[in-house]
């Protein structure tokens, strides 16, 4: 199949858009990557601490109860959300064929966001946090993040209003959704908890916030990427566009109902976990339709995702999304959930969503975007391969050990005649898997960061031809031909 060659005007326009997004997007990508390094390191140290609780016994800063919130905050707000915002900005500019105008405003928002993340990570690390994961920073921190995000939204929405294509592509819908839904869940959760809702309700709200962050923000951003990158690299239209639309609205309708099933049997009216559990199951419809749609688009061109880093990361991310959705649905039913709730399994599940699904998809987008905005190619395909495989080994080790460890721990927890500590001692061997996983992820991201730093410093490869995974630079041409790129 031969595709129409882009006209010089089209190329000029694309290049101009890429150039206009260069500084804001690179700012978000590089600071996100720096936070990712912090987060993986904290993840590794906190897992070691969990396995060997006697280590650094007299140092409050090395307590698991402080390390883990700092790890989670830097992973989500520092890395995932910043990288996601960079991707949203670039994608929106490209899809609406607008140059990014308000660069200064976006950069201010970026600095504000990083200030917020710094406060969030360090207050929880210094022991000023509370017990609500991802909302555990003191009350004065969240306005930094909230206002910064509103500034970013103020950069994204005008581009959408001035779009220069009559058709609203499904990725645009997802980005607009992510732009508007996050302030809703973030402000709702923080304001209600800050106003002093009952502690029980605060826990429920927190669970609602976490699952909504995954289904109402991470999933839309990642799906916007997937719906952009998969057809673009494959050079084909999406298999079924109506199906893509339908799954968007399904997700939009269902995501807000999830969360309370994490407290099934808890002190809430029984219908709340029941409705949440059902919504988590119904969301499988949207996810199954989406993943099917993307895979059907790629049908018959598996060669491409062997070679293209962007596509390989994105497709892997989508498979992890499907895995996450299925596991989340299972654990939200009473039959499976009662042995899994409050156990390692939940940590594994959240990490699967944040790293396995969201981050991997975003890596795909970064491998696509950065060469375009810096005007250089990734230095080494071999390093990209290292990044991919060690991230994959890491996340699979993590989810498998946390799933099995969670079953062991949850089964003990549900036994009334066993001491609480038994449940922990029995499952602590599985924490070794978690530590190993973070070690591998840390290693894999080293090669990612190294390459990103080179690109940032303008030391990328200048030769023509993309950097492909299984080809030496000289072979790029033949690899492209083989892959049909």
């Amino acid at each position: 199949m031969t595709l129409p060659e882009p006209t010089p005007e089209e190329m000029e326009e694309r290049a101009a858009i890429d150039r206009s997004t260069r500084y804001p997007v690179m700012f978000f990508f590089t600071s996100a990557a720096a936070w990712l390094l912090v987060a993986t390191l904290l993840g590794l140290v906190s897992s070691v601490k969990l396995r060997l609780p006697g280590l650094w016994d007299d140092c409050a800063f090395m307590a698991y109860g402080r390390l883990f919130p700092a790890h989670l905050n830097s992973l989500v707000y520092g890395w995932a959300m910043q990288a996601g915002v960079g991707v949203m900005l670039w994608l929106m500019a490209r899809l609406t064929r607008n140059q990014l105008r308000n660069q200064a405003g976006i950069l201010v928002a970026g600095h504000l966001w990083n200030a917020g993340v710094t406060f969030a990570v360090f207050t929880s690390w210094f022991g000023f946090g509370n017990s609500l994961p991802l909302l555990d920073f003191p009350k004065w921190v969240w306005p930094f993040l909230g206002i910064s995000y509103l500034l970013i939204v103020a950069g994204i929405i005008p581009m959408f209003r001035n779009r220069r294509e009559s058709l609203v592509y499904v990725s645009e819908m997802y980005i607009v959704g992510a732009a508007l839904w996050f302030p809703w869940i973030f402000f709702t959760a923080n304001i209600l908890i800050g106003k002093g809702s009952a502690p029980v309700m605060a826990s429920g709200l927190d669970a609602w916030y976490i699952t909504n962050l995954i289904y109402f923000w991470m999933a839309p951003v990642a799906l916007a990427v997937a719906y952009y990158i998969v057809p673009k690299i494959a050079g084909r239209p999406i298999y079924s566009y109506p199906l893509a639309h339908a799954s968007f609205w399904l997700l939009a309708f269902l995501a807000g109902w999830t969360g309370f099933s994490r407290f099934m049997g808890g002190p809430f009216p029984a219908w709340m976990p029941a409705v949440s559990g059902a919504a988590t199951i119904f969301i499988l419809l949207a996810i199954a339709a989406t993943v099917f749609n993307l895979m059907a688009t790629l049908k018959g061109c598996s060669k491409i995702w062997e070679f293209s880093p962007s596509l390989r990361f994105t497709v892997f991310g989508m498979l992890m999304l499907a895995t996450y959705a299925v596991l989340a649905a299972f654990s939200s039913t009473f039959s499976f959930g009662q042995d899994l709730q409050f156990s390692h399994f939940l940590v594994g599940l959240d990490t699967l969503a944040i790293y396995g699904f969201f981050s991997m998809t975003i890596f795909g987008a970064i491998y696509f975007i950065v060469p375009r905005i810096t005007g250089a190619e990734w230095p080494s395909g071999k390093r990209i391969r290292t990044h991919f495989w060690f991230s994959t080994y890491g996340i699979i080790t993590l989810i498998v050990t946390m799933l099995i460890g969670g079953i062991a721990q949850g089964g003990n927890l549900a036994n009334w005649d066993q001491a609480f500590s038994t449940s922990f001692v029995n499952s602590s061997a599985y924490v070794v898997g978690r530590a190993l996983a973070w070690a591998m992820i840390f290693f894999s991201n080293f090669s990612f960061l190294y390459q990103l730093a080179l690109m940032f410093a303008g030391k990328g490869r200048k030769s023509d031809g993309p950097t492909l995974i299984h080809a030496k630079p000289g072979e790029a041409e033949s690899a492209r031909a083989a892959a049909g790129l």
């Binding site: 190329m11 239209p237 079924s240 219908w271 009662q338 009334w416």
Partner: protein, 258 residues
Amino acid sequence: MASEEQKNIDYEKGTVSTVDLHDSVRRENPLMPGGEGSVGVVLLVIASLILILGGGQLFSTANGFSDSIYVNDNYQPAPRPSLGGGEEEGEQVAWIEDWMSDGKKVYNNCIACHQASGLGIPGQFPPLVGSEWVDGGTSRLGAIMLHGINGPFNVAGQTYNQLMPAWNNLSDEKIAQVVTYVRREFGSLPEGDDGVVTTEMIKAAREQFSDQTGPYTEAQLLAIPEGDKLPGSPVDLQTGGPLGAGGGDAPAEEGAEA
């Protein structure tokens, strides 16, 4: 060809063709409006399965969407009857085990003198193990529990000069539980005696010994015939309910003689 640095400066100023620097835009495919592929039968089957499972989950656990029902019928985290949790038929905990474990809790009141082992402290506090007061009928034991005993008295061949206080401030149920616990745990029961003392028996004992003021002396207790039992019907150890007429293996002990 301009040097690398010159190129970057030109790039910033926009004086060099951006396309020259952005080689990637050249090879980029256009984004085409979507296809109209059909949704396979398999996907529809999977979708209906998801709907059925989700709906089943919702309506079997929502408990009629009531605002006041907190515990789901299908959710049994702790299969323990005394906590209100249901249990499976095979795992049913016998009534006597609950009765004994409650009795053990009440026995905490007694540990200071009689010790957790029931052996007492030689020369100071009498043992329950091997004590004729425990092994004999329930009337004497009930009387001691309700009104106490003042020394000197003999237990297992030793004389003790101590005062055991009355425990009649405890409820009938708690006294029944602890007496059952002491008899079954520390006593050597005669053939055919299951050691159980019921709430009903303690209630009867309160009436029977209501004339007593202050603790008993040994002589007063010995006036109660040895082997005399508190009135009350035997119970089924599995259910805690009364034994059926002609009740089989647990022999009727406390008869109508009282």
